[in-house]
Symmetry: C2
Subunit: 304 residues, 2 copies
């Protein structure tokens, strides 16, 4: 590209590097104020669970929704890193033998394989805890009101009324197939809640109006649904190599998905509809929202 | 007792009932704002892990250190409930087969026995997350500055530089016996950090001076050490029935304790010394500090 504006992919990659670099610093060996010590093995396990070259899609959404509303980029980066800690903790625990029992993630051994189960449990616990530390720490350039708002929104998105609750529903779904409404709730909690938080966080960081915040939440809802549909399509079609993890597991376990219920071409049309609705929500922001709109399309079309 | 002042035990019991009652409300089935749904089984598991008639010593320390410095009792109750969620999450995860593998806690089946392992992992995760929700929620009558301070202090006390880090050191101690300094660090992290937070929280809730906050932290450190010494003595001497859980396990696993290192009578003298130092730290507060001083003595002398 000779154009001065970097491509969407270039911007995503560049932001991911900034998040990766901040996470590496945050997970350094030196104890912070009021910490007693940082046990090396636990820290290694946390780093293994986090510093894995992920796409950092959630931090990207925080950064871009913050930029849309003229918020502070440094604050967005720290909140994005905190959110990524929550996302990665959920993967570490989800991979455990008692949960999904996965040995591979992004082509690497999962934390309980590379270390052991107990260390993986504690590494997940520590990453979750650290997310709230990162937001509340003096280094995050936000007001206490904004920090409190972010802590509350993140806790709601990731707790028993959000992501963790969604994982509990997912476990139950292996025994009792949920109906369509049940699948929608499960997915809105398990994957939707954190994506919605990522978008809403931008509005909090930018101290935006109630209207903007509501709009960003709605945008997050649409792309959260799109994310899950795309995931279900991938699980059906992609091979394990492209995903860097086991695939086809949902079908093998008889887990209901909307794709299984309505078919692939319905899902593709639904994805188009969700992206169009997401784009519609961004209309008031005009050209400034190009990147977020591209993100919606990227989420719907991703092949890994 | 016909005296108008309730005894220490009566006060401890009364406060525990208030915490139990608040926790039962907080763990009710109705989703809060921005929560999507509360899956019943997960909520049951959380309640099983929390509503177990514990002594609620940590919330009591929050309440009494807050009262000492004339802080808001309602705020202290909510922060105490949040802290109890963190304490109980750590027990739920600590009891897991991959960790201490305990089937009994307070005479009841542990969460992974009453439910299953996956649900116990998620219940622990959800309790930890909910602690930060409870502090940050609008219902907690504190300023955003106080809430941010509490979130940060609690995250530091419970994360990889605090309690979770202490548990990682504890796992390692089963393979490589730590020296005395190692044991002290392990215990300061595993049990000391949350007790210190409980006392410091009172200073934050009461918006106390830096001096008061430092003094309460130091008091928390002393009684945290006393708590662990008393625990080690109990593990050596009590029978399983009095504790409501398996005992003598530390010795069986070859885990080093200061009691094992220096003997029982040294430990009893050391406990006396710690209580005296804790009381000394309360001297500037005069008669107002009677209850906290009694708490220190209770912790040192407890037999269950």
């Amino acid at each position: 590209m000779t154009d001065e504006t970097p491509s969407f992919e270039a911007r995503l990659k560049c932001d991911a590097q900034a998040v990766e670099s901040l996470l590496a610093t945050l997970l350094g060996p030196v104890p912070l104020e009021n910490e007693i010590a940082r046990p090396a093995v636990l820290l290694d396990a946390m780093r293994h669970g986090v510093l894995n070259g992920g796409k950092r899609l959630r931090p990207f959404l925080v950064a871009e929704s913050t930029a849309l509303l003229h918020g502070d980029a440094g604050a967005a980066l720290r909140v994005g890193a905190a959110l990524e800690c929550v996302h990665c903790y959920s993967l570490v625990h989800d991979d455990l033998p008692a949960m999904d029992d996965d040995e591979l993630r992004r082509g690497q051994p999962t934390v309980h394989i590379a270390f052991d189960e107990a260390t993986a449990i504690l590494a997940g616990d520590s990453l979750l805890t650290y997310a709230f530390d990162i937001i509340a720490a003096p280094e995050t350039p936000l007001s206490d009101r904004q920090k409190t708002g972010l802590v509350l929104a993140l806790a709601r998105a990731s707790g028993h009324g959000g992501m963790a609750g969604g994982q509990a529903l997912d476990l139950a779904a292996e025994r009792t197939a949920p109906d369509e409404a049940g699948i929608v709730t499960l997915q809105a909690m398990k994957t939707g809640a954190l994506i919605r938080f990522a978008c809403e966080a931008g509005a909090i960081i930018a101290d935006a109006s109630v209207d903007d915040r509501r709009r960003l939440r709605a945008f997050g809802d649409k792309i959260g649904l799109a994310f899950q549909l795309a995931d279900d399509l991938l699980d059906l079609t992609a091979d394990a190599k492209a995903m860097g993890k086991a695939t086809g597991k949902d079908a093998a376990r008889g887990k209901g998905t909307l794709v299984a219920l309505h078919g692939q071409s319905w899902a593709e049309r639904e994805l188009e509809r969700l992206v169009a609705e997401a784009e519609g929500l961004l209309a008031p922001y005009g050209a400034r929202s190009t990147i977020l709109a591209e993100t919606a399309r990227f989420i719907a079309n991703r092949r890994s």
